[in-house]
Structure formats: C-alpha cells, structure tokens
Symmetry: C3
Subunit: 430 residues, 3 copies
C-alpha cells in the first residue's frame, strides 16, 4: 500500500546482509596487487578525478608524471566540491574502515595524515589479505586481457574473466594481432586461423578456472549473425595489415563477436554484455573519465544473439539509467538474459533503487545478479557493496514488507539469492 | 513536502476504493466462458508460463498437448523461482479469494489440492456469476475479432470492443481477407469495396453496443495520412492475392489504419491505441510469451493522427515503461489523448506508481483512465485491480495528502474519477 | 537505508529555505510590466489555458479578441477539471498570497471576486515592487529579443539574457534579417557581415549587463562544427532573400549557432541550451500550448559543442523527463555542462524529485543550478520556487538525512548552494 517502512527494519535487514561474504562477479582488481599501497591508488580512482575535474580541477593536477603525494594533495583541494556525491561517501567509508580515520572530511586539512596512514608499501601482500578479510570478500572476478598468463595467484579467490573488447573492437590495430599471434603461437592470417587462435585462448582460460567472458559494446553495435563468407575477405585483409573500409570494420567486429559467442556456447561460459559506452567522447577528460553514452539504445538490437545462443547465459548491464526498465522486460522473457548489477553511470542509489524495485517485482528471483563492484582496488569493494546493500534493504523494507506484507525472513531469503546464491550459481562451472 | 504518508491512511484509502464496483475497459475475457473451470486456465496465463520458462522451465512442460492436470503440476514445480514477482502474488490472491486456499504458496506441495478445489466444470455458468459478484465487476470490455457475431451474452456487462489488428497488420494474409468477405457478404477486391466492408463491420458492432475500437501497433508504425491514390494499387493487388513489396505492406497498413480512424470519427467511437509490441521477437518462448518491445518509440510519430481526428478520443497505452512521461505530456496538451491504464510490461507497481504520480500531478483529472485488467479469465480482474488500487492509495496518501495537504475525501473523489467515472464517461456512447 | 524522513524535518528545511532571497536565472518577465495588473494575466498563463483546453474547453473561449473579464470567466468554468494538477496549486497559492483569497477553489463561484481583487491597474509599478518584495526576489533573468534596447529598468534586478532562437532558427525569415540590419545599422549580406552584426549585438548586450545567452533547440538539431566555407553561399543566398533547400537551412542554423557559441566564448558568457521542443506540433492548441517533444534525444549529439568550447559554461535543460538521467552523467563528466533547473514538461514534482535526487548524488555540488521560474508574470516566481523548495526539502530529508545521516546544517548548506550560491557564481560576470 506504499505505506512507509520504518528506518529500524531497513537497518536490521542491512545489518543481516553485512554478515554475509561478498561474492563479486566483476571488477578490475589486479590480482598481483589487489589492495592499495599508497593513498594515491585510492584517490586516483576515476570517479574522484573525473568529478573533481568536472568541478573545475585542471587535469594536469593529477598527471601521472607527478609524485603520488602531490597528486593526492592537489586532488584533496577539490574534494569539498564533490562531498555531496555518493562516490565521495565511499572515500570516507574507506578511510574510516581501513585507515583508522575518525574525521568527517577528506580534504586539504586531512590529506597529509591520510597519505601517511594509508601507506602500506611495507605491509605489502599482508595488507591485501587484511583488506580482503576485513571486507569479508569470498571471491572477486577479474578482468583479464586475452593474453594474461593467469598464473601467480589463487584463481578460486581472484577468479579469471576473459575480456574480449580488444579482440572484437580493435582487431584492426596491429598491436592486438601481434599479441594474439605471440600468445597463441599461431599465425593468424585468415578467418580460419583467427578462429583457431581464439579457440586456444578459450582453452587457456578454461584451464585456469575462467568463469565468464565479458565485453563492453558501444551503443551502435548491433550483434546480428554475420555473413561468414562475406566477412572472410575483410578479415584476411585486416589480419594482413591491409586497409579496410568503415563498413568492413563493422562487419569484422560483428564476426569476431559471433565467434566468441560460439566459443562461450561450446564451453558453457556466461558472456557478460556491458552495453552502451561511447569511448573517448570527451578527449580532454582525465584518464578513465572520457567516456559517456548515447541513451538511444535498445535491447531489441540484441534479440538475434539471445535467440541464436539459448544455452549461453548473458548477464547484461546497460549503461544508460533510463534503459533499466527494458532490461527488466528482457530478463523476464528471455531465459538466458540476466540483469547484472548496476553499472557505472547507473550505479547511483536513486537509479539502483528504481531498477532493483522493478527487478524484485518482475524478474524470477533466481536470475537477479545483485551487484558487482567494478573496483580497481580491493578497498572499494566493501563501500560499494554497502551502498547496494543499504539500497536493497530499503527496497525490501518498502516494497516487500510494507507494501506486500512479507516477513523479515522472506526478505532476507530473497536478499541472499540476489547477493550470494545467484552469482555463485549463474557463474558456476558445470 | 515529501513527508511520508502513514500506512494507516493508505490502507483506509484502499479499503474505501475496494467498495466500488470495477469498471474494466480492456480485457481478453471470453464472454461465453468468462471464469476458469480448471486450474490450468489460471496457471496457463502467459505471465506464469513465461516467467517460469524464463526461470528455466522447458516450454514443452506446458505444451497444449498435455493433460491440463499435468501442465499444472509441471508448472507448479517452477513457481518457487518466481514467488517474488507481483504476478505470483495475483495467483496467491486468486486461490485465497476464490478457492478457499489458506496456505502461503502455490507449488508442488499444494497443486493437487488446488486442482481439485478449482475444478468448476460442474458449476459452469453459475461460477462465472459467482466470480463476477465476488469481484464486484460491473462491466468488463472484451477484445472481439472483427467477425465476432456478438450474440449470446449480455453486452451491457461484457462490452464489445472491435479489435482491428488483423485488418490493419495482416490484410496480406489470405485468411483475413476470406474472413472479411465471408462475414460481410461483400466481395472485397479494391480500396472502395474494402472501405465498404469495414463500414459494415462498424455498423454490426455499433448495433451490438460496441464502446471502443482497439489496435496494438509495433514500434516502427508511423500513422501518417496515407496517399489514398497511391495506396489503391497495392491494396487491389493484395486483396487479389498478388505479391506486394515490404514498402507496399507498410503503405497498406497505414491506409487501413486511417480508414478505421475515419470510421471511429464517423461513429464517435474511442480508438484505443496500444503502442509498442514487437511480436515474436523470441520465437522459442511459450505461447503468449514471445513479444517484447523496442524502447525507442515516441508519441511524436502519432501527432498526425491526433491532429487529423480531433473528435476521436484516443485512449493511449505505451508498452515501454520509460515512455510513460511522454504520455503524460501528450495527454496534457492534446484534448483527444487519454492516458490509459498501465500495460503489460509497464503493469508493475513501481512503474504504475511513477506514471500515476505524474498523471495525478499534470493531467486533467477528467482524462485519467485508471486501469484495465487485460485479463483472459475473470478471476484475474480483482487481484490486478487491487494491485492498482493499492498503488493508487499509496500515491494519493503520499503525493496528495502528505505533500499537498488534501483531505481524505478529496483523495477519494479523485480516485473515483480515475477508477470509475472517467472510464464510464470516456467510453460512453453519445 | 531508505528509511523514511519525518514530515517535520522536511517542513523545517523548507521553512529555512523560504527565508532566502530568490535568484531566478530564467524567466519571460517583461521588465516594463513585471507583475500582473489584471487577473487575466495570471489565468492567461499557458499552463492553465492548455490544461483547460486539454480537458475540453474550446480554444475560442480564451481568444485574445475577448474582453479579459470574459476570458477569465470562461476559463474559470473549466478549472475544476484540472484542480488536481500542480499547476492549479500555483494558482491557489497566488490568490492566497497576493490577493487575500481565503477560499479553496478558483472557479465560477469565486472568479468575480478574484477579478476584482486582482485588479492592479491603478496600483501600477508600486504593485510590481510589492510582489517582488513579498516574494523576496533578489534578481530575475529576462529573455530578451536580440534587438531589445535594454533600457528603462534596473538591469541588476531584471537581468538581461540574449535569446538567440530567432537568429539561429529563423534567419531565413525576412523579418528577422530586417530587424538585425535595422538594429545594428549594418548591412547584412554575407557570412562576414552577419558575423559583424552578431558581434554588435553581443557588444550591446555586454554593455547592458547581460549574464547569459540562451536558445531552445528542436530534437533533431545536431550542433556539429559547421564547414564555414560551404556555409558561406547558402548564408549569402538567404540573407539576400533567395531560396534555400532544407539541407541548406539546416547548415545555416548550425553555422549561426556556432558563431554565437564563439561570441559566448569571446565574452565568457554562459550559453543556456534548452533542448527538445517541437514547435507547433498541435497547431489547433491554445496560444503557448502547441509544442511538445520527441523523447528520442541524446546529449551525445551535443558533445562536439561541449568539446569545442571548454571555456563556455553550458547550463543545460532537457525537455523530455526521461532524458534527465543522461544530463546527470554529462554534468558529471564535462566541466562545462551544468544541469539547469527543471523545464516545462519536466517541471512536475515527481520528475523534479527524481532528477534532483540523482543530481545530489552524482553531480559536484558547485554545479547544480537548482531552479528557474520560466515565469511570464512575477506572481508565479514564488509558488513555482516553493514547489521546487518543497521537493528539494523532501529529497534532502530522505536522501541526505535519513539515508546518509547528514545533519540539518549540512543539508541547508547544500540547499543554499543549489538555490542561491551556484546560480550567482555560475552566471557571474568575470
């Protein structure tokens, strides 16, 4: 009845969820150095540099040429301008949780102290484990280049995920072809040898515990079944360093995407589709802060791939917040479409709450993949998950308890599916 | 001030609305057999089969070849996977309201008992009346094929509505032309005779108490005034079974749509526009669960028809939830555009609440058509209307009372317009 | 935690905001006659006439040929049909605040009394000042034609803003060219002389305290850098009264828009972009009630102009409510994009609240331009700002206090930035 939930119930739900381990199905963590050893690795997260830049900070103040301390101090001067944002709240939660900070603000008055207390160079790998334990992170998925050797860490904790953007979107770049040939030991000169080389990548990743393949695709990408015969010539040309026309580049992309989907099908590997970014739309932005989107996207464009690969699970993230309702409908109809977290520009409590409420009302509870951190450093997993868990607690208290009369136990059962059981099941190896 | 409404007030508003008769301006009820006589007619509703299928149930488990009991038992095994959805809540409300169920869950443990208690074969038409009385349904609109004889039931309770999808979208199919010729007793070989035949359909429906004409249109349909002279040849060709090009099919559709709008104008019949479905986008789905939409639709495409027929009332439903705000604006400016209920993928409390709040704030109160059930069986009318009434109660308690200081009486006055007075007035015969 | 704010806190926040002066960065106020001297100037606001017309009132009942009293009485009969709308609530607040009205409804029973009490013909300019003082309006921006002499009023209170729609969108109309030539004393026959003439307009406006340049652009406008050489010929043709093709009109528009952006850059003048209206889409509507929008717009189209003019501040308003989330993302990345108020069809509490919540969560607090009245008469500034302030109070109470644990002082600090400090700073002259 849209009666209002009490704060107490939402808080109780949140506290219960906070006891559960975190299972994080998408991040950009470096498994060789998962936690931050200098505060600059925290403050360098693109959310802070891009928001500070948006508020007026010259990009040069966080130039990679500068000393990390200098970058931190420069940025700190601009943090008050963004202290209203949810991103800033993650920062405050990090310094309180991990660095014993007791103040309210990260700014010029506290930056020196924070640089000091966040210096973990000497702690090294022990610090990685400490952050992971404090955060109660059971496992976190990585984003691995196709030529990552995948050795040197525990792949049951830092789980490999094959990122395929380079193969699909940049095959016309010589560097990508060289990396592919070098890593597979395979001459790659035509469609057939390309397919063989990609197959070797999948074998390599399968042998090292990969749980998902992933790609981010621009708004104008349309994944239709490629005419393989017509694609053969432009692919041979591009693999041999010859020029191709823009329409041929598009055809090559569609073809490589389709081949990768075929391998996902063969290996029963979920294929994360992250739909929407326009890369480098603001070339003068700070590093990591140059991409946006065109809101005119529709999953109708993706129906051909959902139909063609009914056995492949497609966890889907859309970038434009107003596209969230469509993802609910496609997840409700297509058995192989899973609504996957709340991505980037959609990862803001007001958009999370709206999407989550609709998913809870209209998507089978076994299909909702609650959240992934998208973090570059381990410290961000906890505050980002906590933002999600707080929002989920609010949605359950309001939508399920106040409006539909559920018990707390039933709410927590759903929450556990969304946060823990579903990602484990959906990304499980057969 | 966005202060929060108390649960008690929302509940009080809901209870008051629940006393009112239901006037349901759109359904797919079969007037010869309005209520379900086997539980399979309840569980067979596409919402349940498609959501269960989405959760992993093979489509073959609800094949029409199977015995109804078997279909029920098969589906019941998958219902726990969708017990979070609002659609599942309708099911629980139905078995409690109509079948004396006292449990919490419809699943394998309760399905046998429910098949038994929902067996109304022997009760027959008495059951229809019982469901209608229990639900307090005053009248419900039907969806009639153009060649429905419209006899054998009380058309003041089960009100005829002329559905024109076949005529507009499928005139190139021989079966449709044959039905048209057979029913009107009119040779249909060219534009002129087509117009005459359609005129006879309108006369027939007018003679049997029709209150609306209706059509569902795909996202790429653009209702511009057709060049009748250019349309004559492809229409003659198609009516004589000859081939037409895709662009000619599009021209034929626009032309027949326009002719139907002209007859609505002549007969002062409201023309329900249901905008957005892409049919059969998921061909391997269960029956009734194969359609979705492309969110890139705009009512700007419909301005030509709103301008051309100022005397025709157009109750409009849009399918993509994110298109709801645009419908508010078009209803606010065009006197002949009426926001009509909350359709299909938009028929979820979170989307209903958002749309309803905006309609209550910005559309003349005399124009808001609250809700229609879209039901196939009479049992669904009550739980679906109750979902709407609960949501409306919440919106009124929050938006009108807490934020704008209205009295309960004023809220109920608006609710009665939205739920009862407006649909009666807007669909009244002159 | 989505716990619910108490009504008391929202009310306290609202009351505090109400003490602050209003700084209104966009209106259509006539500085020579800012307040209404006849009630018809209040009731004639397009919101009332268009909503009443939408509810069934024939447009002729508010024809400009009629006596103002008659128009008022005619319209009053239709007001009960729109008394649910937020726009109607502004009307009630106006008559209570400024005309001593103690009733609840503006309708046929009260209209005679209101015409009398709102007659300020004899009070004249004293009434203007009285309304401004009662409303606590510190300054309000105007919308000035390019050939406005800008004299005869205090430009520190009624601040000039150069509106450029005519120059950009209507240069092919002889009347516009004649006005431009007459006002600048400059023969305007080619691209070079056009640029000179526009430069003179900017000099004139700069000399009279202009604080912004503004334009409203249709959904299909794409501001790409124009090929100046190719544009020269069609511009010469159009300036000499010769015919141009539609694609040439588009090129001329892009070119003039670009020249204006260059002058904004030269003079460091903010350039308000108001994106989305389709003009005259409903030609039979009442005056001011004929425009709507196509929701398929994206700020991605505007990236070229944001990139080309990094020193120009672009306060951006989008018309389609569902485009609001995209504006949040573009304001978060581009330093020169500022989310500007809540415009026209988006100016409804439910849309304001959704946009505002996201802006508060994800846009630097120094960049959020809270609200502008868009008013034609001074009396509307207060109730429209109050609708915004109430909504802001609700968002702060819920989002910042209940969910994020902020203090009242911190909430009010943010509110003051949004309402007062930011518009003053962003539109300040260097």
């Amino acid at each position: 009845m849209h009666a209002s939930a009490t704060p107490d119930i939402a808080r109780e739900l949140f506290q219960a969820m906070r006891q559960w381990p975190i299972y994080d199905p998408h991040s950009h963590i470096d498994p060789h150095r998962p936690a931050a050893r200098h505060f600059d690795e925290i403050l360098g997260y693109h959310y802070f540099t891009e928001l500070a830049h948006s508020a007026g900070m010259p990009a040069g103040l966080v130039d990679t040429e500068l000393h990390p301390d200098t970058r931190c101090k420069n940025l700190a001067r601009w943090l008050p301008a963004i202290d209203n944002t949810v991103q800033y709240s993650w920062l405050v939660e990090i310094v309180r949780e991990f660095h014993g900070f007791q103040g309210d603000a990260v700014d010029s008055s506290t930056i020196d102290q924070l640089i000091k207390s966040a210096d973990k160079e000497s702690a090294g790998t022990a610090w990685d484990e400490q952050v992971r334990k404090l955060s109660n992170i059971e496992a976190v998925f990585l984003t691995n280049d196709f030529d990552d050797p995948l050795t040197g860490w525990d792949t049951s904790v830092y789980i490999p995920c094959l990122r395929t953007d380079d193969l699909v979107l940049k095959l016309h770049e010589p560097r990508v072809r060289q990396r592919l040939a070098a890593f597979t030991g395979q001459e790659v000169g035509d469609l057939e040898s390309l397919r063989t080389a990609i197959g070797k990548l999948f074998d390599h990743f399968m042998a090292h515990g990969v749980r998902a393949c992933a790609i981010s695709l621009p708004p104008d990408f349309v994944p239709e079944p490629p005419p393989m015969i017509s694609a053969a010539t432009p692919i041979r040309r591009v693999l041999n360093g010859m020029d191709v026309r823009p329409d041929e580049v598009a055809l090559i992309r569609r073809t490589v995407f389709w081949i990768i989907a075929e391998f996902c099908n063969e290996h029963r590997l979920p294929f994360d589709l992250m739909i929407g970014p326009i890369r480098n739309i603001y070339p003068n932005g700070v590093a990591g802060g140059r991409d946006l989107f065109d809101r005119r996207v529709s999953l109708a464009d993706y129906a051909p791939v959902f139909n063609a690969f009914p056995k492949v699970k497609f966890p889907v993230s859309t970038l434009s917040p107003d596209a969230g309702a469509e993802l609910v409908a496609y997840s409700w109809i297509f058995p192989n479409v899973y609504p996957n977290g709340h991505w980037w520009y959609s990862n803001v409590p007001t958009f999370i709450a709206a999407d989550l409420k609709a998913r809870v009302e209209a998507v089978p509870k076994t299909k909702i993949i609650g959240y992934y951190s998208d973090a570059y450093k381990l410290e961000f997993v906890l505050p980002k998950f906590d933002t999600f868990r707080r929002t989920l607690a609010g949605v359950l208290a309001q939508s399920c308890m106040a409006e539909r009369g559920w018990s707390i136990e039933r709410c927590l059962g759903l929450a556990k599916d969304i946060l823990v059981n579903n990602p484990k099941t959906i990304f499980a190896r057969d």
